[in-house]
Symmetry: C3
Subunit: 320 residues, 3 copies
Amino acid sequence: MAVASVAPLDRARADQLSFCGSAKYAPLMAASAAGVVLVSPQTADLPSPAAARIVVPNPHDALLSLIPRFYRLPERTPGVHPTAVIGRGVVMGEAPSIGPHAVIEAGAVLGDRVTIDANTTVGAQARLGDDVHLYPNVTVYANARLGRRVTVHAGARIGSDGFGYVFRDGRHAKIPHVGGCLIEDDVEIGANTTIDRGSIDDTVIGAGTKIDNLVQIGHNVRVGRLCLLMSQVGVAGSVRVEDGCILAGQVGVSGHHTIGKGATLAAQAGVFGDIPAGETWSGYPARPHKEALRAQAALFKLPGLLRRIERLLARSEDDA
Amino acid sequence: MAVASVAPLDRARADQLSFCGSAKYAPLMAASAAGVVLVSPQTADLPSPAAARIVVPNPHDALLSLIPRFYRLPERTPGVHPTAVIGRGVVMGEAPSIGPHAVIEAGAVLGDRVTIDANTTVGAQARLGDDVHLYPNVTVYANARLGRRVTVHAGARIGSDGFGYVFRDGRHAKIPHVGGCLIEDDVEIGANTTIDRGSIDDTVIGAGTKIDNLVQIGHNVRVGRLCLLMSQVGVAGSVRVEDGCILAGQVGVSGHHTIGKGATLAAQAGVFGDIPAGETWSGYPARPHKEALRAQAALFKLPGLLRRIERLLARSEDDA
Amino acid sequence: MAVASVAPLDRARADQLSFCGSAKYAPLMAASAAGVVLVSPQTADLPSPAAARIVVPNPHDALLSLIPRFYRLPERTPGVHPTAVIGRGVVMGEAPSIGPHAVIEAGAVLGDRVTIDANTTVGAQARLGDDVHLYPNVTVYANARLGRRVTVHAGARIGSDGFGYVFRDGRHAKIPHVGGCLIEDDVEIGANTTIDRGSIDDTVIGAGTKIDNLVQIGHNVRVGRLCLLMSQVGVAGSVRVEDGCILAGQVGVSGHHTIGKGATLAAQAGVFGDIPAGETWSGYPARPHKEALRAQAALFKLPGLLRRIERLLARSEDDA
């Protein structure tokens, strides 16, 4: 019994490995053509035609170790493509990989083993740590600083001007943005995400934080370590997101608030105040999740009661 | 009476054609300087100073046929610009049009009449079908597959890594993404939209589906045929959107749910469960549209009743 | 006492200037190491170890004048980089600054002192006014017109096709987009924002309007003068936003409505109708802000009352 790749239960063939982490997938497992299935103690005895099953504590986690054995991940090829444009005074570390039409402006400083893909632009005086990978068509603005092992997906913009104006003499006068944009070690940034530089303070993304696609981080925001910001989240200026927070998809946080350590915001939550550490909030405007659920449940009962209430009110106020 | 171009009623000149599809535009039609107006049977008799009116079943649809007669749409010019970088082993079909500074990485395979505009990057081993058009500054990641007549607008990212981590040893360990990204025939993808590749499964966009700007499609999502996804929609990982669905602007769908065939989600809907086929849902959390409207109507009556209710409760509970 | 740069109270050193505009920052001011603090008449007497304080009417506004004295803003360097590709018939004004790998397609017309950064693409026949600045990796589609002093941040897309289809013969037939995209003087457009061209009419952004990152402007939209559109706002097709409106983050406006002059929409508002001039609306669906607040307050009282109401209804309907 040999398997050569990995596939979900409903798509796997006899030469593929699959996984079943929950009894709710029992029908898929019973019908799966997978040759080998990773199972948990809870799913170990589910019916399955597979030639072999392997019991592990958590099949999904086990995959994390197995995938690199089945798939050769792309290797980086050191070298500077002849069409790349390297500005005056750029400092390169060891073994850079600079793709076609990449542009590195004057004075930028690169660590070792930096990868800069095709059509990406790195602004003047920017600093990229060891093992940074910028995918194609990225922009790093002048003076932005990226730590070690930072990965930036295609089309992300790091260090753009924030949105700050003062209305004066009949026009919106722009506040010059002279603050920095600091991305700490081991941060991953999704495709087409935008992270503004600070106005006078810095914008900071803490070490180990992961940011999904199309996220907006405003000026002077400080995101702590090990946070997860999912797709289309918007964080307005000067917000503090403390360590270990989770912001689910399309969450919006208005300016100058603090999201306490380890807090979770459910998808589409609209935050207009501080969030206490460790709590889960949801809804618009965001409230503690249980309170929000109770309010929603009550709301959907309301139409059925309203006529009865109005009748009762009319009757009893006539009486009074 | 000759007309040379098309304009809306309130802007048309005597040498322009306009259209009036609804009686609510009667004031605009009465005041319009348009030389010719397309009208429907319902608007045929509205007062108008136009030299001519033409009755058609649906003026807006008729425009679809007329516009190509008035406007010469830009023609593609075959050729490979000398600044384009074509990697080793790239296979080109007939009559490619490759713009300045486009980059096509090693092993990519292009069908006939493919257009790749300026500063666009196509990753290694990617496959583009006949008549694909990639606008400027697009990124197609390695191994992504695009069918025939797929159009991708500027800045869209196809096949980026999904957002998947396992928390282990005090850090978010990345799940390697080895699944594919498959865009079927006749799909159009808007500017700055992002579509992630699958983790081990594929992400698939079905034939004839149209996706607007700034939309996010997560890993392993399957969108069916002939769907419409409007701007800023976010679809989280492993969601199934069946054929013919309409997701209006800023809709969010959380992970692993199914949007049934032909369902419609109203703008800003927040979906946290499966949606039955053919139904229209709206609101947060999304509910059947009529139910959501009733709840909203009740909600806005509530403040006016609340004091009366509280008084009545106090009185009657005193009595009890 | 000399200061060399600007920093917020909690980060300033002895050689830095800071500012305190509100008494709520008194603790920060008392603990700040800043050498000089700008204060308002209201904060002038707060305790502070600073060597000097300077009283101004509004410290934040005063910064606007001071920042350019402390920071040398980057200077533009005229010149056309040898790797830039300039199409046939392009007209350049005085002192252009065209970066590496920029592409300007045939027939584009540039005013004086235009700056086009690296990897940016300007389409055929586009027109850019004097002092336009396009940051890196921007796309201006063919025929778009930008006024004087327009600034476009990295990755923005100006003049892409709108999202318009007619369902016919079992497919979504595309409506050819032949309208224009006109950005008037002094507009600033944020990173990765998308502005569609009109279908037959024009899309217009009025003079002095400022648009943040990741905003979507649909086809035929007309935004007036001096508006502020914050991050992730979505404006659907044919909407009119009159002069001086403020749309806060993640607001969505559905198609064909009018936002009256000087109106404000609070963050995440969902607009499904016209908004009267000068009013502030919020929530989903958007309502006058005070009404929306009252409804929310009532909603969160409802769960606590519901059981009592149901008991009362049961009792009184038994009686009846």
